[in-house]
């Protein structure tokens, strides 16, 4: 435990490289974006200060912003809930596999989608969803389910859900690894004691695993939420926000305003609004799922 000034100096000097990195890579761009959001800037000439007019326009006049926010929230909510749930149950299933090699094999297989670049996943699923030569429609036809074939990315009411399905496929592996690590940390004795008391698998899950994994569940949901709200790559590659504007998300709107309309200030302001929305959602998640109690085994 640091006792004197010299020790403090030594401790902080160890932290300096990281502090400097955080300043340069995160803090300065954030402040810069925040300041840009109060300007009208075309990316080349001198920015003009316009006060809060960008925010007024976004919140009071821009219907497309609310459509994109609605899509982003829909994508985040469904993806997070299903990805966390699938990840949890897979982790529970894997933990029961006694053969180490087999367990490692399944962990690797389920984690592969999480390792793939988002753009690659987008392109891959674009082929799978292709209405003419795509795997999905051909599979459905093979099973004589022709009535279920669709233009998965071309139909407005389906496109966003098709993207959400890909997002879930991409992220459940990460959640599985998080839960697997959490479950591994729970002492076996607790389950053994519960077995002696006559608890079945479900009771063990609801009265041991889930309560003890609360901080891990919170972490998984927060990560999934952040990833969901900033989803850009998959949507951009798969639909570009279309058909029409059916799958536009907030990050796509930011890029569109900044780089297509040369409205960097406006784009930064949308980014700031998204940042606040993200903070609010995380606050709500932490309030309802998070725990202040220290969980000790």
């Amino acid at each position: 435990m640091p006792g004197n000034k010299k020790d403090y100096l030594v401790s902080y000097s160890f932290l300096m490289p990281v502090i400097l990195m955080i300043l340069v890579i995160i803090f300065i761009p954030m402040v810069s974006s925040f300041l840009t959001s109060f300007t009208e800037w075309n990316g080349a000439s001198k920015p003009q200060i316009t006060g809060i007019s960008n925010y007024i326009d976004i919140l009071l006049k821009n219907k497309l912003f609310f459509k994109s926010l609605s899509n982003s929230l829909k994508l985040t909510l469904i993806s997070s809930v299903l990805s966390v749930t699938i990840g949890y149950f897979l982790a529970e299933a894997l933990i029961t596999i006694s053969r180490k090699r087999l367990s490692e094999f399944y962990r690797l297989v389920f984690f592969i989608p999480a390792m793939l670049p988002l753009a690659v996943v987008g392109i891959l699923f674009k082929f799978i969803y292709n209405p003419t030569y795509g795997l999905l429609n051909n599979l459905l036809q093979l099973l004589h389910l022709n009535g279920l074939t669709h233009s998965w990315l071309g139909e407005a009411n389906l496109a966003i859900y098709s993207i959400i399905a890909v997002n879930i496929w991409k992220t459940f592996g990460l959640n599985m690894i998080i839960f697997y690590a959490g479950l591994k940390a729970i002492p076996k004795e607790l389950y053994e004691a519960a077995s002696i008391d006559g608890a079945g698998k479900l009771k063990k899950m609801f009265f041991i695993s889930i309560p003890l994994l609360r901080p891990v569940i919170e972490l998984a949901i927060v990560i999934s939420t952040i990833l969901g709200l900033k989803t850009f790559d998959i949507v951009y590659v798969m639909t570009g926000g279309g058909p029409g504007r059916a799958t536009i998300t907030v990050p796509i709107l930011i890029v569109e305003n900044s780089f297509r309309y040369n409205k960097f200030g406006y784009g930064a302001a949308i980014g700031m609004v998204l940042f606040v929305v993200t903070l609010l959602i995380i606050y709500v998640i932490r309030k309802f799922i998070g725990t202040k109690e220290k969980i000790e085994f």
Binding site: V10, E155, A156, P243, Y261
Partner: protein
Amino acid sequence: MKRKCMLGAIMSLALVIIISFMLIGCTTATTTTTAASETTEAQVVPEETITLKFLDFWGELEDVMLESIAKFQEINPNIEIKRDVCPWDQAETVLKTNIAGGTPYDIATYWPMYMKTFVEQDAALDLTSAIDSDTDWKSGIEGLIELGSVDGKIYAVPFKSIFAVTYYNKTLFDSYGLTEPETIQEFEEVMKTIKDKGEVAPFTNYDGATCWLPRFMMPALADQAGVLDDFIAGKIDASDPKYLDIYKKPYDIILNWYKQGYLYGDKGAAGISRDEVKVAFSQKEVAMFNETTSEFGAIKESADFEVGVFKFPSVVDPSKYYFFGGADGFFVSQKVKNPEAAIAFLKFMDSPEIQKLWLDKKGITPVNTNVEIQDPVVKLFVDWGKYIKPIELYSLTPELSKYMDASVGELITGAKTTTEIANEINDLARQAVKDN
């Protein structure tokens, strides 16, 4: 233990100092480069190796592009062209990201008629004097030179003539006894016949080209109303009932086609990718689609039937066609360190030798009138060049372009009505006029 801590602390501080110096070093290096470039602009040293950063969005034409660059470097050994490739639909974003980041491309492929956005950013070099002083270059590309003009100055040069036409399965047309339609009414009859036969879908456009339909029709309707120039300039207000149809009628027509089942893909008609459309056409799943003239070679090659091409039918008068587009071309960054070298590359690409190379190898319609053309379809394309309207309402502002890009999708998916779309296009046009 304490010594170890101290050693760690010293190493950490050293790392901080190194990072700080690196950051300061970056700033110093930039300043030095700027100073050096100013010197270079004043004193052109031909022997010095010049590197030009070039963004190319014609990735599918890589072999002929690399051959052209090699030929250029053969006669200009001191100029190195460092080429990056990006998809055409990301070109604007890539270019603007690099401009905003302070590292613009020296040369880029772009559409000369849409240069306004870069001119407004002071990101494009004025090429007027370079072109005016070179009569061979200027006379060769004279017909399309105005495409790259903004406020009387030329900021981009054309390289390949490109505009939208309609491709069709000629073998199928012949077997059904159909002829090329010249009016929208005839086009609808053709689509009805094909649909009734039930073998293939009549017509489609890829997602990025759905907006081509209103872009074909609107100028014709404006011309019929006698207000074409004002319409293109965004001065025609749709709130005046006599002009509402210019904005609304094209969407009514498209919606009717969708309801009649003429469009390939049914509910997904507005979300078909470019590759899907080409595959659907070559697999005889769709009879007609719109594409650019530059795709003719590839479309013909992929089909095992005869491919025909016609001008998209006129919505008013068969003698009046409206082609939008014009050319793909090049522009040079305002911040290029060696403008002479960059301009030399542009001139070389527009030379008859290179234009002929692209025509022979890829069937690309040349912009240089001194190139001899044999292919009857390419000759047809050159002839149809007279119908091109390079300036259109669509390119008034990026917001309007983006809105129109998505408009047919919004219509087909039921997100917007024809009246809403007409009014919103009108509002964006009004805003553009106000801003200008």
